[in-house]
């Protein structure tokens, strides 16, 4: 019995505190809630558009799924499942994600160790060059890189 009473006491207090806080911060909460909802809409739109069949997409907005649930279909997802290009694309994504994470971390960790703990001539200068290279636009490397890999890339794609 006493345990319940002890339990009840702080909860009712915090509840009252919560209400008073809700009132003092009411407008702020409403403002932030409106912002959050606005920020969510495009993503929700993507989700509900994915439930429309191509024919319904032309004549219906995704928000009409709410008033007319019969519009929703998982047809696009079953197509996704049966599409033969998707597995190879997923594999490529995995290759890039794993390779693009593991390799830079390994290489950068080694370089960071050298910069942090080894005193070698020109250390600061080399470091500055590395920092400078951080902002080189990808476009600068695009032309040479694309031309050196175009032939090999297209041949791999064909073989898949």
């Amino acid at each position: 019995m006493s345990a319940v009473a002890v339990d009840e006491q702080p909860r009712s207090e915090s509840f009252a505190a919560r209400i008073s806080r809700a009132f003092t911060h009411g407008p702020l909460n409403i403002l932030l809630l409106a912002i959050a909802v606005a920020w969510l809409i495009p993503t929700l739109g993507l989700l509900f558009t994915s439930l429309l069949s191509p024919g319904d997409f032309i004549t219906h907005g995704w928000w009409q799924v709410f008033s007319k649930p019969s519009l929703a279909t998982f047809q696009n997802y079953s197509e996704l499942w049966n599409n033969t290009d998707i597995p190879s694309s997923l594999l490529t994504t995995a290759e890039i994600a794993i390779g693009g994470t593991v390799l830079p971390i390994l290489i950068a960790a080694a370089a960071a160790y050298a910069f942090a703990w080894i005193d070698f001539p020109g250390r600061d200068w080399i470091f500055v060059i590395v920092i400078a290279l951080l902002v080189v636009p990808l476009q600068m490397a695009l032309i040479r890189s694309s031309r050196s890999t175009t032939s090999s890339a297209s041949s791999t794609r064909c073989s898949r």
Binding site: T43, L46, H60, A111, P137, A141
Partner: protein, 451 residues
């Protein structure tokens, strides 16, 4: 690529240098060898994938489209200003730079400060950060659909149409023509009765050419109302009956046009307006002795909301900017929020104790203390905005892509997307690089200061 390299920790004093050993020379060369071994992989990667292509691009920019046999000097750079498509893109990039990073930083700051005061800040931050998890290309697809012109497809136009229908309803009919020569005008200018009216007269404004089923269902048999000495009355009706009927005469089976807006303009320039009833009749009370012109205003024929063409040439750039801000505001908020969390609270408390208002605390304490973080966010966004590319390609439809294009898009277009002029493309890339250099220097300075 070299993102993690260095980690900004050159602060740590190397242990080896502090030990003055007798064979320091030998030791020194051996540590240099170790350093080279540690740096070599990174150097190789940077060299092959960044440094060499960069130098290649710089050299390539001095040659024409057919290759290294065709030296053109700085002609490609001159083309930056003579090619209007590229010049417009450069100007547009500067517009982006002037607007977008600032808005993103301000949004990030406001959101970071405001979420500190609510209990569900984690949920708020998650929602705002979510767009960062979607690839920019997919973001472009989302917003392209949001911006579609048809209010039945584009969510933005559907919302505007919904709000608009609350305030301004569309007119009762879509199309019409005068039935006789006594009425002039068109549906875009409105229809005016040629003969002026005086008090006690009734106006007959007959219209035809109204599409079938276009009249509101409430329409009733047209009736010419009686006008007393101080009134001007009249009727706006569909001057067409199933048998044809006689133009200019109100006959049985001819329906009035309900909800039409009729304007009565006096010779003194004053205008009154009235709305027709279900039988198409209207009445103006207490008119003076002058002459009046009656007309059916164009708003009667205003069609339903057709949608703003967000993806059209005029609005495409602001529309893409909104989408871009939607993506990056969450990033700014999280970075600034981290800075805010690390801020000494006692300073804020001291300011509040001294009687500063919340606004003063924000303006005089929070913002100055956050300045380093704000500048990091701002510079990062400047660099990102300079390179903005995929979101433009994915939002803008082909027809307005040149109205939205920026430097990075043109660089791609000129070198890969059809034109295949690698010399000119290289020149655009080098120009982009030159624009980044000031930010590069800021970056280097910051790292050195921290070091």
């Amino acid at each position: 690529m070299s993102g993690g390299a260095g980690g900004g920790s050159i602060t740590a004093e190397p242990a080896v240098a502090q030990a003055p050993l007798p064979d320091a020379g030998a030791r020194r060369s051996s540590t240099t060898l170790t350093a080279i071994a540690f740096l070599l992989p990174a150097a190789l990667f940077l060299g092959v994938w960044l440094l060499y292509p960069t130098i290649y691009t710089i050299v390539r920019s001095l040659f024409g489209r057919s290759g290294f046999g065709d030296f053109v000097g700085f002609d490609n750079y001159k083309q930056l200003w003579t090619n209007t498509l590229v010049r417009d893109s450069i100007v547009r990039t500067f517009v982006w730079l002037a607007i977008v990073p600032l808005i993103i930083t301000i949004f990030g700051l406001l959101f970071a400060v405001l979420t500190e005061r609510v209990r569900w800040s984690v949920a708020f931050k998650t929602i705002l950060f979510m767009p960062m998890a979607i690839s920019l290309f997919a973001t472009g697809v989302i917003w392209h659909v949001m911006y579609l012109k048809d209010p039945n497809q584009g969510a933005v136009n559907a919302a505007i149409g919904g709000v608009r229908s609350v305030f301004a309803s569309s007119g009762p009919v879509e199309d019409a023509q005068p039935s006789t020569a006594t009425v002039t005008g068109s549906k875009s200018r409105g229809f005016t009765l040629k003969t002026p009216l005086q008090a006690g007269q009734s106006a007959l404004i007959g219209l035809t050419g109204i599409p079938p089923d276009d009249l509101p269902a409430t329409a009733k048999q047209a009736k010419v109302p009686h006008a007393s000495n101080s009134e001007i009355t009249g009727v706006v009706w569909r001057d067409f009956s199933p048998g044809g009927g006689k133009p200019g005469k109100v006959e049985p089976l001819e329906l009035g046009i309900p909800g039409a807006t009729v304007e009565l303009k006096g010779s003194d320039g004053k205008t009154e307006s009235a709305t027709t009833g279900d039988d198409g009749s209207f009445t103006f009370d207490d008119v003076g002795s002058g002459r009046y012109t009656a007309s059916v205003s164009a708003s009667t024929f205003s069609s339903a909301f057709g949608g703003v063409s967000w993806l059209g040439s005029a609005l495409i750039t602001p529309a893409i900017m909104v989408a871009y801000i939607w993506v990056w505001a969450g990033f700014a908020m999280v970075v600034i929020g981290a800075g805010l969390a690390a801020m000494p609270r006692d300073v804020l408390e001291a300011a509040r104790t001294d009687g500063a208002t919340e606004w003063q605390v924000f303006r005089r304490v929070t913002v100055p203390l956050l300045a380093p973080v704000l500048s990091v966010v701002f510079i990062t966004m400047l660099i990102n905005v300079l390179k903005v590319f995929d979101i433009i390609v994915s939002i803008a439809p082909g027809s307005t892509q040149s109205d939205a294009s920026v430097i990075a898009v043109q660089m791609w277009r000129q070198s890969f997307g059809g034109v295949n002029d690698f010399g000119f493309g290289s020149a655009i890339a080098v120009f982009l690089f030159i624009l980044v250099i000031p930010m590069l220097m800021l970056n280097v300075r910051r790292f050195r200061r921290e070091g």
